[in-house]
Symmetry: C2
């Protein structure tokens, strides 16, 4: 089962190491993770996407809540939330395929952010389904490079 | 000095903990970090934004290169690159301020992704300057919640 966990932490030295260690110490793999300051520079928010059985994850959430630098843990398993991800894809193009890649980019409301003689770098944002579909379509043209931020999530209420 | 470092790693258990530990072990704070698989599910790319003196960072880059699971390290200090970040901002609105928030959203080509009676959740993407400016403008209306992915970067060539 897939989980999206949001952890609000104090923006202190070594917090990331402790939290990452908590997951790896229990044999829990992290699919994606990101961490950045919130509107308050003293706190950061981490969003972690992970996969594994529910009981083990519940243990991890309990452990997270015990860490002194952790202010709040939200497990988005059930709740209503908005989630988004940003991906930069460098797609190989030639004079034949460029127009087609541009068409698909347009359909996905993605943005071309760089043009080189033999490649286009495209920024696509959306939920997981949209982003995965775009990557799948681009892979038919040839993906030279790809970097993704991992998911961020926010409760609707 | 601010640095943006991209680290291509094997998608293996515990790699994140080792890399985060390398930074915190040397007293180097991480501003933002994200990690997610690339187009090859066996590899992940981390983008780390950090701040500190160049000599210490050079040491960290050397140490990173020695880790067996690290495939490539790029320090984007000098090079030409594209960088982007995604931020979700929940802005408090009332019937008076809603239209104004929507105007600013439009100017920044940001997207409203959720509407609640007393808030709008907005997705904004761009380089650091744009994103920071948007957050600054929104803070005059009142930011109820904010989550950002941290920067991802890709060399132009």
């Amino acid at each position: 089962m897939r989980h999206t966990i949001s952890v609000l932490v104090e923006n202190k030295f070594g917090v990331l190491t402790r939290i990452a260690g908590l997951f790896s110490g229990r044999g829990y793999n992290i699919d994606t993770l990101n961490v950045a300051p919130t509107q308050d520079p003293n706190t950061s928010r981490m969003t972690i996407v992970t996969r594994g059985d529910d009981a083990a994850l519940e243990q991890i959430v309990k452990q997270l809540n015990k860490l002194v630098d952790v202010l709040r843990v939200q497990d988005f398993r059930d709740g209503e939330y908005v989630d988004r991800e940003l991906v930069l894809v460098k797609v190989s193009v030639d004079s034949m395929s460029r127009a087609e890649v541009m068409q698909v980019t347009d359909i996905f409301r993605a943005k071309i952010v760089d043009v080189q003689p033999k490649s286009l770098t495209i920024e696509v944002t959306g939920d997981e389904g949209k982003v995965e579909k775009f990557i799948e379509l681009m892979s038919t043209f040839g993906i030279a490079d790809l970097t993704r931020t991992g998911k961020v999530a926010m409760p609707r209420k």
